[in-house]
Amino acid sequence: MKKLFWLLVVVLVASMALAQQTRLRVFVGGQQRPDVMRKIFDLYQSRTPGVRVDVEVGGATSDQQQQYLTTVLASRDPSIDVILIDVIRPAQYLASRWADTIDKYLPAASRQALLRQYLPAYSQANVINGQLVALPGFADAMFLYYRADLLEKYGLKPPTTWDEAIQQAQTILQREGNPNLNGIGFIGAPAEGAVCTFLLPVWAAGGDVTNAQGQFSLTVEQAQRALQFWVGLMDQKVSPPNMAEKPQDTIRQEMQAGRWVFGTMFAYAWNRFQNDADSQVKGKIGVVPLPAFAGGRQASCLGGWQWVVSDFSRNKAQAHKLVRFLSSPEVSKILAIEASNLPVFPSLYRDPDILRVNPWFGQALPVVQAARARPQHPRYAEISEAIRVTTNQVLARQKTPEQGAREIVTRLQAIYGGR
């Protein structure tokens, strides 16, 4: 009888200890370095007794992750507490009421102070209709990667305009005479990255999808010129005719195998070129801001990932504390060193520890500061589809740039018109 009593006491104590422990489940994509994230969560666990953080790893691309998350969130599943989302999604999360907004846990005054520390683009991207939906985890933007060894061989400096880049590519391709070497790589497959492909020349020419008041303002002429630019690269033979097949990571893999002179990609590529075992271009790659268009300006496409608390979480207060930690300078620095993720705090771009691992981060700050954001809209998925699928069809020469431009403008007009 006594034994039974003590056993009961032990079970009771154990279950109370278990009940006190909060378990938080965090969703990150397969390409967002879950291994590094795990280290960060371990650090958090060691400092916050009673909290355990589990990682759930999702698909590789932003679209794949969101398809899974849509089913989880639309069914009000409480199993995920914190989610790492793409910079294009906060508006949709607010409209669908999937996010437990950060405001509830932040007095207005400290919210101002907090937001002022981040790069302005990310404070803007996360505040929708005056509500703070998420907090930035790491920054990203598109850059021009180039083969420093090849440019040096022919006495060329990294290009500052696209005309220069085209000429340099033509020179190098001609003199190298290597049938496996290509000129300028850009995202042509109908994935999310193709939205950036379409918008880069639009932005560089001073246009955008919406004006400062948020009204639709893209013209057929702007869209047509943008599409014509990329088709022109294939006409001038600096890009191969099968660009419509190529997603970003294919360009990255091919450049890693030494098959491109130039490539336009997001920041993640650097770490792979330098550290992957199969990389044939270690130490041969340079990074510069994307070139400008003649008579236009330089423009890059803003990327980056944000931490959001699920509105269906059962541990919202604890989840918010975790998100505040994940969006802190300390974590930003770990991500920069371990995963080459661009920091969301301007001051960290001068941090000596970070620059030792990523010497090009010094140049990256102005690019991220000047990078343009894709449209913010609750129906962004439809905007994205209209742009990326049509851009892909133009690159595949199924449609002329003019037909493609008309289609994009008509479809976006309908979405902005609420139809």
């Binding site: 409209a95 109908p190 994935a191 099968n242 997603p247 129906r379 998925a381 589809e385 069809q393």
Partner: protein
């Protein structure tokens, strides 16, 4: 032998045979209701509402009657998707039947070692559809694909299979036929094995050649199996999704009805309209199934 009936009844309590049958069927009926009737009913219900998760109608759907269906009938993209789906049915069902019949005849030949052919028959069938799509996506890649490699070795030009609509359509059909003909072959093989051998023997005695006995014996006796295979294949062909989806890298230059339903609901979060499209697709599948049921009943008679 004296009155066995009451003893059996007593062992099942007071239940009559009818009541027993009822209670034994309840779990199956519940399960069917849960996984088939409830979702279909819910789909019909949602299709009558304006419901987008991207605005306030996500939490407060607005009843709009048949407006979603009216929208579908004036939606160019719906008709294109329907037409594409029909083309897939028209090409891949006869294609799979012909290839499947050849495979079944081959497997039915009196080889000494039978397992290599039977394994070859089963493998494509056991492979998940999306894997088949990804594999063929690589086969038809313009730069790295085996198809273009063969064409170039034969002195031809590289073709942009995946991004040229006409070529893409045939590449998709080829992949679907490869994937689905093994299913057809399995059904036809079963049909072939029940044809009595004596018929061929007596035909041979009467001086019929192989071609004649195929035409006069095999084909007529195989007809019921061919019909079953054709109907099953048609139903799944109307639902074609995985292979064209996986082969296009997220693009929708060639879109089937099932792909459009997915884009509208899962990506655009427009559940009302997406449900209406799904209902239309359901009606088409239902009509084909009715044809099948009618045929099965006819065979029983």
């Amino acid at each position: 032998m004296t009155q066995p009936q009451p003893r059996i009844r007593r062992s099942f309590g007071d239940l009559s045979e009818r009541a027993l049958a009822f209670w034994l069927l309840v779990p199956a009926a519940l399960l069917l209701g849960l996984v088939a009737l409830y979702p279909v009913g819910r789909l019909l219900y949602t299709s009558l509402f304006l419901r987008r998760l991207t605005d306030e109608t996500g939490n407060n759907p607005v009843f709009v009657g048949f407006q979603n269906f009216a929208q579908a009938f004036s939606d160019e993209r719906f008709w294109t998707a329907l037409w594409n789906t029909l083309l897939i049915v028209l090409v891949t069902v006869p294609g799979a039947l012909v290839v499947g019949l050849l495979l079944a005849l081959l497997a039915n030949l009196p080889f000494r070692v039978k397992w290599p052919i039977r394994l070859g028959l089963l493998l494509p069938w056991a492979l998940p559809l999306v894997f088949a799509g990804l594999i063929f996506r690589w086969f038809f890649d313009s730069q790295y694909g085996v198809v273009n490699d063969v064409i170039v070795r034969l002195g031809g030009e590289r073709l942009l299979w995946v991004t040229t609509p006409e070529l893409l359509f045939w590449a998709i059909c080829f992949s679907i036929i490869w994937k689905s003909s093994s299913f057809v072959a399995l059904i036809l093989l079963a049909g072939l094995q029940v044809i009595p051998k004596e018929l061929y023997e007596s035909a041979a005695v009467d001086g019929a050649n192989r071609w004649q006995s195929f035409w006069r014996i095999t084909l007529p006796l195989l007809l019921p199996a061919i019909l079953v295979a054709a109907i099953f294949r048609t139903i799944t062909a109307f639902q074609t999704f995985d292979i064209p989806f996986a082969m296009q890298n997220g693009g929708s230059a060639f879109e089937t009805l099932a792909m459009y339903v997915r884009t509208m609901s899962i990506e655009n979060l427009n559940f009302g309209y997406g449900s209406a499209l799904a209902v239309l697709m359901f009606l088409i599948s239902f009509a084909v199934t009715l044809v099948y049921l009618r045929y099965v009943r006819g065979a029983d008679d």
